[in-house]
Every structure is written in structure tokens, then in C-alpha cells.
């Protein structure tokens, strides 16, 4: 029996600097950055004061006042992106058996913004240990348990198949889509609305990353704050956003004659079993995830046209990842462009993996590799081709996208043009 192949037939992105996948691609392909001084709250008490904020108006995207009240910003992103991805796919989900339509939502920190705001109220600014339930809104539980995101997306698109939230820290955005692809392969669903969302730009998140000095303290030039692989980088820039996809089985997509962006040809996740925040410099576990994902895709390392990097802009990550790519691609690593879009849209934790999958699919669509912005002087220990400053036109049929997260999770996904003939 031929295995079921899974393809992306709908995409939507909500990202800093561009709501909508066309604006998002315009930002990336022009190498513009969307990092700025934080406007959501007064950032002056914090070490890091920059972020990549999305200019998102939920009313403009058709959410009702009650939906806006009950949903955290991340849930709002998810619902809007999911709905738009479905429209992009041209699928009429109402015509399908709802039990064959599944939902997978990635999120690292769930409704952290809503929790931060509501805690402040029920605790009266932190004064009350026995927080006051009479000040709690009815939707507080939806913030506490982020499976509410999957519920909202399922309701929005009318899905009744297996649905969940995948929460694996900063690899959530790859893992949710990998999980979704598996549902189609094994036959548990025919269509999955999958993606991820996070909206972590909130005081508690800034404070916790300040405490481990993971975010950049550079705020003199906010638009140049995110500098993956550059010798002068000193931490990541927090971002927010969502990307959602419609995944279908290849033959079904072909039968209805719809546009196919890319095949999810391979996926794997492995753990470093080392440290909740630390990485071993050899990148062995990420390399193993890459190896398995390529194997599942039936691709040789030499066939990878582009590596979409995790590229968070911490020294630890950039070196770890560079080592992992060398370890898995061998000499081909030096010939393969590898860029970090976090230089432009920041690091949106659990969302960024899906946003990077979208960037990878759009790179294939346009045969253009997005650049690493702000990369003027590479770290000598990072000696690959990071596509500095300017996007590059090149045929792009196979993309490797990788992620690395707190908890030790290391994930890799291979996107391939489904029209590529198998090896």
C-alpha cells in the first residue's frame, strides 16, 4: 500500500510587520524588520525593551465582541489565521464529514497575556495571595488551559475530528504540524487545520527571559535588535503571531485540482535529555531529528535547497544549530543557504515554527530564499551561508526547517515540491 502523502493547500500568516501571507512574504523577501520598542506596556522596568509586535485588529478580521472578550490574543490569532487558511485552500469543510476534519494547534505559553492581566486583577496587583474569585472573568479557565485554542479553531471551521493543542515550547509550531501530518498518514483524518499561535509579549514573559538573559538588552536601534549569527548578537527578540495551514492527502488535493504549496515530506522530533534551557554544542539530537526527517522524505542531504534556521540569535543556539546542520548535511551544509527569519519577525515561541514553515513553503512558491537581516559580521564560529541582508532568487524544491526549544525538544521538518520525482 502506498503511504498517504500530506500536502499543504492553504496558508495564512499573522506576523509582526504583516497580517496576511502576502504582506508577510513582502516583508521577508525585502529583508525588512518588524522589531520595535515595546508599545503594549511600559517596558522601562525590563532589561529587554524591544519586541516584534503584530498590528492586529480583531474586529477587522471579523471576530465578534464576545469572541474577542473570551479569547486571549493568541486564540484570536489562531481563529483568524485558521479561517483564512481554510478560505485559501478553497475547501468547503461543510461538505466533508466533520469527524474526518481534525485540528492541531501549537502553542508554547498559551494564554499567557490573558493570565498575566487577569492575575493582576484578582490578586489586586499582587497584594492578595488568596486571590479574589469575584474579580475573575468567566473565561479565565480558557486562559488557564490552552486546549481552548483547539476548541475555538474547531468551532470556527466546523471540525469534529481528533483535536488538540501541542505544547512543546519553542518547537510547538513544527510539532503541531508534524502531529497533524501524522493524523492524515495514519488515516485518522482527511483534512487537518493545523498551525500554531503565541502572543507572549507581556510583562511576565519579559521578566522571565530577563532573568535568564535570553532576550537582547539592545534597544538603541530596535529595528536592528535581532541579529542571528552576527558576532554582535546578544539574545533573541520576543515576537508574536500565528500561522495556520490546511493539510490534505495528496491524491485528494490533486483530485479537486487545488493549488498545492508543498508536501510535508518528513518530520521528526528528538530530545537532548540534557537541560531545560541549555544545549550541548555538538547539536547531535537536532542532527538526529534532521536525519530521520530527511529519511522519511526519501531525500539525500545533498538535495536540500534551503535550510530555514531556528536562528534565535543567542550565541548558544546559533552555534548549536550550525553544528547540527553540519553534522547532518555534511559538506553540503556549506553549499546550502540557511537563514533566520527571526531577524525580521522576532521569536514568537510556539508560533514561530509554523510561521517558519509558512516562510519555507512561500520560498518554494516564489523560488526565493529569505535573508537573515542585520547580519553584517558573522560570528566566526558560525561559518555557513546565512544569506545576509538580501533575499536570494534560486530554485527551491526542498526545504529543511528546524526548531529547538526549552525542555530539550529538537524538531526538523522537510518540505518538498510534490511534483519532484521520488529518488
Amino acid at each position: 500500500m502506498n503511504r498517504r502523502r500530506v500536502v499543504i493547500t492553504g496558508i495564512e500568516v499573522i506576523a509582526p510587520g504583516g497580517v496576511g501571507k502576502d504582506r508577510f512574504w513582502d516583508l521577508l523577501s525585502n529583508g525588512r524588520t518588524a522589531t520595535r520598542g515595546i508599545t503594549f506596556f511600559d517596558p522601562s522596568p525590563f532589561r529587554s525593551q524591544v519586541a516584534a509586535e503584530a498590528d492586529f485588529d480583531p474586529y477587522a478580521h471579523g471576530l465578534t465582541p464576545q469572541e474577542i472578550r473570551r479569547m486571549d490574543r493568541a486564540a484570536q490569532f489562531a481563529v483568524v489565521a485558521a479561517r483564512t487558511a481554510v478560505a485559501d485552500s478553497g475547501l468547503s469543510l461543510d461538505a466533508l464529514d466533520p469527524y474526518r476534519v481534525a485540528v492541531a494547534v501549537g502553542s508554547a505559553v498559551g494564554a499567557t497575556m490573558g493570565l498575566d492581566q487577569e492575575y493582576r486583577v484578582v490578586s489586586d496587583g499582587g497584594r492578595l495571595d488568596l486571590v479574589d474569585h469575584t474579580y475573575a472573568p468567566p473565561h479565565l479557565y480558557n486562559h488557564m488551559v490552552p486546549s481552548s485554542f483547539a476548541t475555538e479553531v474547531a468551532w470556527a471551521v466546523g471540525a469534529q475530528g481528533p483535536s488538540t493543542v501541542v505544547s512543546t515550547g519553542c518547537t510547538s509550531g513544527i510539532d503541531s504540524v508534524g502531529y497533524a501530518a501524522e493524523l492524515i498518514r495514519e488515516g485518522s483524518a482527511d483534512v487537518v487545520v493545523a498551525g500554531s499561535s503565541d502572543a507572549p509579549i507581556s510583562p511576565i514573559t519579559m521578566a522571565c527571559f530577563d532573568a535568564i538573559k535570553a532576550t537582547t538588552p539592545r534597544h538603541d536601534e530596535p529595528e536592528r535588535a535581532s541579529r542571528p549569527f552576527d558576532a554582535t548578537r546578544n539574545g533573541f527578540v520576543l515576537g508574536e503571531g500565528a500561522a495556520f495551514f490546511v493539510l490534505e492527502e495528496l491524491e485528494a488535493a490533486r483530485a479537486r485540482g487545488t493549488h498545492v504549496y508543498a508536501e510535508i515530506a518528513g518530520y521528526a522530533t528528538r530530545s537532548n535529555a540534557y537541560h531545560m534551557t541549555g544545549l550541548r554544542p555538538d547539536g547531535a539530537e537536532m542532527a538526529e531529528a534532521i536525519r530521520i526527517a530527511l529519511d522519511e522524505a526519501r531525500l539525500n542531504a545533498g538535495e536540500v535547497d534551503y535550510v530555514n534556521a531556528h536562528g534565535s540569535g543567542t550565541k548558544q543556539n546559533d552555534r548549536h544549530e550550525t553544528a547540527a546542520v553540519k553534522r547532518s548535511l555534511g559538506e553540503h551544509a556549506y553549499r546550502t543557504p540557511m537563514s533566520s527569519i527571526k531577524s525580521m519577525v522576532g521569536h514568537s515561541l510556539g508560533a514561530i515554527g509554523s510561521i517558519e514553515i509558512a516562510a519555507s513553503a512561500l520560498a518554494m512558491e516564489h523560488d526565493v530564499v529569505p535573508p537573515t537581516a542585520n547580519l553584517h559580521r558573522p560570528d566566526p564560529e558560525c561559518d555557513l551561508d546565512y544569506v545576509p541582508i538580501t533575499a536570494r532568487e534560486q530554485r527551491t524544491d526542498a526545504v529543511l526547517t528546524v526548531g529547538s526549544g526549552f525542555g530539550g525538544f529538537q524538531s526538523a521538518m522537510v518540505l518538498a515540491a510534490p511534483w519532484r520525482s521520488p529518488r
Binding site: G126, V131, A136, T164, S167, D175, C208, S271, E285
Partner: protein
């Protein structure tokens, strides 16, 4: 799909028993673990009862290096995982590191830790937030910490689907085993009995406000008026059936079938998804309803949800055609911890030929269920169905069966 997934180890931290043996004998004996909250003063809140894990001293089990960076939920998870591995006779250091993974579920992560750091932030200032806040509260923390503690580099992950999540995690473990990883630590523990977590749970409006530990959580009773939350759950060792047999492992049973659905959006008028989840799980296990010997029900103790569950069970099995039980009447609802704990109970029920009881309830006669009430019921069991639902419309059903 010829690969079988079997359960070879069980580790339990439950409100009516710490450790599998204590919990199982308490469960068969109908021992109640629901009581007035002692972890904080509940006087000011409308609900005051919970199922709290008794006598858990983390420092007896875990290095002091782990304590500053872990919430109670992670400590309970780590200890349950240790016990499950010991029960399975597994020494992780002896196995190839990429051959072991961790798939757990979570509902609220390390919520009490989060409360402490939110308080530090808002009462004392940004510089007072712990370095550990960057991971100690988040939903992925238990899988991460278990993988680190035991050097497990295989596929790991976390799912969040509220009360259904624990079964979804076990299903995800089975997927990884089918894809070639021989051993997955799975299951779930939840614990958010802290003021901030309590206020979050109260917001559902579904908590019982009764002060009577024996009368507060009454699923399938005419007086059902909400549930009592609890903490704890079970961590299980799942293995490739062949690998387990090759090493001579004691096998509790096989994960034979699984199905998951969502309820339709409110107001749609469509049927809730639970019946479909049961049907999918039975089809996945290639079983007829008549082959199922016992059902471990979800037991929401909300009249509408109880009716939905009773109707789903009778639609699939017929009226009073299969014994049904809700041992969580002794623990309260443990969120993602409930499904794995019920699965553990189902496996031990099969082993011991006994169905643990549903306590405290007087079954409502509107439901055509054969509820096992008051005392455990001896029975020859080969196959059990476990149901778990999550707030927001999640329905999961899992079938376990004896392998001998």
C-alpha cells in the same frame, strides 16, 4: 499496523493513594480521597473540597537541585515516572537513549509556580521573577524534565486537551512506538490546587459547592451538581509488544484501540461526539461492543453531560449491557491525569478480576446504565473501555485488553 503497544509499568500519585499498590487497594476498597482543601484556606471560595495527594514529600524522592526549579505537578510527575520505570523493570541507562521518548499531557502546567512568579512580578517588581519561570510553569515541563532525568532522547511531546488529554498522550505514545521507538513514558499528572488555580477552575461554574466529601461529586446521580477537582494522575510505561516480550517483561495489557472527536460548536443541534469516539475506538481495536467487559466512564457530574454519556454508552452497548464505573468519585476529576489513572485502573481490574466501585452515588434511573456502585464487583475481564472528556468538547475513548 502489526506493532502492538503494551503497558509494562504503572506509577500513580492519586488523592486516595500514593503509589500504585496503596492507590489500587484504596480504589477497590472504595476509599475516598476527597476532603476539604488543606493546601490553602478555602473559606472564602464557594467550593472548598478537592482531591489532594496525601503525604507527598518531594524531598524524599528528588534531589534538592530539582526543587527550586519545579512546580508540585512536575515533582509528582517525576516521582510517578520513577515508580513506573521501576515497576516495568526498566533501567533507562541500560537502553539506547534514542530508543526512549516521553509523551505526556498537561492541562495547566505548573500553575502554582506561575502564581508565585506573577506575585513576585506585580508585588515586588520585574527583577524578582525567578530564572526558572521561563519553563517551570509551561505545559511542556513534565515531558522535558522526565526526558532529562532519564536520558531519553527519542521523540517527546506534550498535548493539551483538558480532561481528554491524558488518553490523547497515550495515543501519541502508541504512534511513536508504531513508528519505531521501542519505549515511551506516557500518561499525565495535573496539579493546580493553589488559590490562582482554584479561581481559574471556579470560573468554569462547574465545580460542586457542596461541603460534604461524600456528597459533592455525584456523576449519574439525580443530585449531580458539579464536580470536585483533584490532583495527581498516572505515568505509564508503554512498549513495543515484541520488545517487551523479548526482555521478558510483565505485561499489564495492550492499548488496543483509540478514537477521538470534538463536540460540535454550541447551538449546532448536532449530536455530541462521544458516541462517535467510542465507535472509532472499538473499530480501531477490531472489537464488537459485546466484547467489551467494562466501561470506565468520564462521569462529569453535570446533568446534561451525564445524560450525553449515558446515551452514548447505551447507544453503542445497549441498555444496562455492560458494567460501568467511575472510580474518580474517590479522587475528584484530575484533568489530564484522570484518563491515564482510569487506564491504570482498567489494566489492574483485568489483572485482578475486579471492577472498582463508583462511590457515594444513587444512580439516576433515567440512565440505563449498569453502574457498579458501593463495592467492588468481581468479574472476569479481558477488555475495558476508558472514556475521558475535556472542557471545550474533547472526547477520547481508549480500549485496553489482556494480552494473555
Amino acid at each position: 499496523m502489526s506493532t502492538r503497544t503494551v503497558v509494562t509499568g504503572i506509577g500513580v500519585t492519586a488523592p486516595n493513594g500514593l503509589g500504585t499498590d496503596h492507590w489500587w487497594s484504596a480504589t477497590c476498597g472504595g476509599k475516598n480521597g476527597i476532603a476539604r482543601i488543606t493546601r490553602f484556606d478555602p473559606s472564602a471560595y464557594p467550593a472548598k473540597l478537592a482531591g489532594q495527594v496525601p503525604g507527598f514529600q518531594a524531598e524524599q524522592h528528588l534531589s534538592s537541585r530539582l526543587l527550586p526549579q519545579t512546580d508540585r505537578v512536575t515533582r509528582l510527575s517525576l516521582v510517578a515516572a520513577d515508580w513506573a520505570l521501576a515497576d516495568a523493570g526498566i533501567t533507562p541507562a541500560d537502553l539506547p537513549d534514542f530508543d526512549m521518548g516521553v509523551m505526556t499531557a498537561s492541562s495547566a502546567g505548573g500553575f502554582e509556580f506561575g502564581q508565585g512568579e506573577l506575585r513576585n512580578l506585580w508585588a515586588r517588581g520585574a527583577g524578582h521573577v525567578s530564572a526558572y519561570q521561563s519553563f517551570a510553569w509551561f505545559y511542556a515541563v513534565n515531558s522535558g524534565q522526565i526526558s532529562i532525568r532519564h536520558g531519553m532522547k527519542g521523540p517527546s511531546g506534550v498535548v493539551v486537551s483538558e480532561g481528554a488529554g491524558g488518553l490523547d498522550a497515550i495515543a501519541q505514545a502508541r504512534r511513536q512506538i508504531r513508528k519505531g521507538t521501542p519505549l515511551i513514558v506516557t500518561g499525565a499528572v495535573d496539579a493546580s490546587i493553589c488559590p490562582w488555580g482554584w479561581v481559574g477552575q471556579l470560573a468554569t461554574g462547574k465545580l460542586s459547592t457542596s461541603d460534604d466529601p461524600t456528597g459533592a461529586y455525584l456523576p449519574f446521580d439525580r443530585d449531580a451538581a458539579g464536580y470536585v477537582p483533584g490532583e495527581g494522575g498516572a505515568i505509564l510505561i508503554t512498549e513495543d509488544g515484541e520488545a517487551a516480550r523479548a526482555r521478558g517483561a510483565r505485561v499489564y495489557g495492550e492499548i488496543a484501540g483509540y478514537g477521538a472527536t470534538m463536540d460540535p460548536r454550541p447551538g449546532s443541534g448536532r449530536e455530541p461526539g462521544l458516541r462517535a469516539a467510542i465507535t472509532l475506538a472499538l473499530a480501531d481495536a477490531a472489537l464488537d461492543p459485546a466484547q467489551v467487559d467494562v466501561v470506565f466512564a468520564d462521569g462529569a457530574a453535570d446533568p446534561a453531560a451525564d445524560r450525553t454519556e449515558a446515551e452514548a454508552i447505551t447507544a453503542v452497548f445497549g441498555q444496562r449491557a455492560v458494567p460501568v464505573t467511575v472510580p474518580k468519585t474517590m479522587t475528584g476529576r484530575l484533568y489530564s491525569g484522570s484518563g491515564p489513572l482510569d487506564l491504570a485502573a482498567a489494566l489492574l481490574a483485568i489483572r485482578d478480576g475486579v471492577i472498582p466501585p463508583t462511590v457515594h452515588i444513587d444512580p439516576c434511573r433515567d440512565y440505563a446504565l449498569d453502574l457498579v456502585i458501593t463495592a467492588a464487583r468481581p468479574a472476569t475481564l479481558r477488555t475495558a473501555l476508558v472514556l475521558a472528556r475535556g472542557a471545550g468538547g474533547f472526547n477520547s475513548a481508549m480500549v485496553v485488553r489482556a494480552t494473555h
